[in-house]
């Protein structure tokens, strides 16, 4: 009798645990909403929550496996960072004291990002994949159409000048073309205010390293980047450990922050718990500029000031592939040629009429 009862009890408990695990679900939100995030401008807050069936955040420590991939390459139009397209951006096993994980992230380009999260806690496991659509910054769209308008007007005017020279059989339009082309150069140059000049030249003054070790009365910490200098398009591994002077047995709380030094803009930030006092994160630096990597650590629950370690890392830029450059240049020249043909034919027809 007892073995049969034990069997049914075991079955009931097993089913309830299984149901609880199945009921766990992942919730993902961004602030601002994905549709309002401006790529390469706004750092967005991403939060992933492991919830139970009632929609409450799981209180137990949770391990999040995160995979973030950039949008695939467009067949024709490139983005500002073509090397980044279709590459992994983030890989990490991040621990949290509860079922809530928050990241600050600067999305580098427009397009549809793939985010895959697997969350595991003592209550169960849940996995989900999201497609996150980030629209182009409205100002960039306006400027793009401004450039197309500028080239179209330039083409039409050049076409009219060419038609005018056919009627008069004069040699003027070549001179006019040169003047107009120089005018176009001057016009584009004036669009770049001196204040917006790129700061890559300043990056040469920044001292970079691939590791940092700090020590204080609270403990000792080391952070390290592998490979020693990052490259756009590839993941770099940031790892580190913290050894407190007084072992309390609890997890270590790490706060990671990456700042693009060219733009003085935070591109990534998160807070993770490390039960064994170590962390590892694989991250792609998407801009070929020096970055400041800052990590602070302290035992979880400790109210004392954390121990801070920081290093400036070199990020090698990769120039855009020649086919992409050629395609974009051909498109822009093609727009000018079409407008020129339109102006030429229109002017001839108008003069005949």
């Amino acid at each position: 009798m007892y073995p049969i009862m034990a069997f049914f009890i075991f079955l009931a408990v097993g089913c309830s645990v299984s149901n609880a695990a199945d009921a766990l679900q992942l919730d993902f939100r961004t602030d601002p909403p994905a549709g309002l995030i401006k790529p390469n401008v706004d750092t967005a807050k991403l939060s992933v929550r492991l919830e139970d069936a009632a929609g409450r955040t799981v209180a137990a420590p949770t391990r999040f496996s995160i995979e973030l991939d950039s949008p695939p390459r467009n067949a024709f139009f490139s983005t500002g960072f073509p090397i980044v397209e279709g590459t992994p951006l983030l890989r990490g096993e991040l621990n949290s004291e509860s079922g809530n994980l928050e990241l600050q992230y600067l999305f580098p380009i427009r397009g549809i990002y793939r985010l895959k999260v697997v969350a595991e806690s003592s209550l169960g496991r849940s996995a989900h994949e999201w497609n996150l659509k980030i629209h182009e910054e409205p100002r960039a769209v306006r400027r793009f159409f401004g450039l197309i308008s500028l080239l179209s007007i330039f083409g039409v005017v050049s076409g009219i000048c060419l038609a005018h020279s056919v009627r008069r059989r004069a040699a003027g339009p070549v001179s006019a073309s040169v003047i107009a082309a120089l005018g176009l150069f001057a016009g584009l140059s004036s669009n770049t205010a001196a204040g917006e000049e790129h700061a890559h030249s300043h990056a040469a003054d920044i001292k970079t390293s691939d590791s940092a070790v700090v020590e204080s009365s609270s403990g000792r910490m080391q952070i390290r980047l592998s490979p020693p200098s990052a490259t756009v398009g590839n993941l770099a591994t940031l790892s580190g450990w913290f050894e407190p002077n007084v072992r309390q047995g609890g997890p270590i709380e790490f706060t990671l922050s990456f700042v693009n030094l060219d733009h003085d803009r935070e591109v990534f930030q998160t807070r993770v718990m490390a039960p064994d006092g170590t962390f590892q994160l694989r991250y792609q630096f998407t801009d070929g500029a020096s970055h400041r990597v800052a990590v602070s650590a302290r035992p979880a629950g400790d109210t004392n000031a954390p121990l801070d370690a920081a290093m400036n890392v070199t990020v090698h830029a990769i120039q855009p592939p020649a086919p992409i450059v050629a395609r974009t240049l051909l498109f822009l020249v093609g727009v000018t040629a079409s407008a020129m043909l339109l102006g030429f034919v229109g002017a001839l027809k108008f003069s005949k009429a």
């Binding site: 983005t79 960072f81 040699a171 070549v174 120089l182 150069f185 120039q319 240049l329």
Partner: protein, 65 residues
Amino acid sequence: MQPVFRQARKHVLLTAKLNLSTCSRGIVLLAIVGVVLYSVLFSTTPAIHDFFHELRHSLMIIPCH
């Protein structure tokens, strides 16, 4: 702006006596447009690239690094 116009005047003097067909003129013009666009939007020469870097990133389709 002065050097641009001075340069333009020099080119006017050079090309004033050229006698090209309409098609050739069109091709010359498009070649010049191509060179100008390449210099401003795609050149990797640090002095030019750094000056136009922000402009490139604000034009939506211009590849940079």
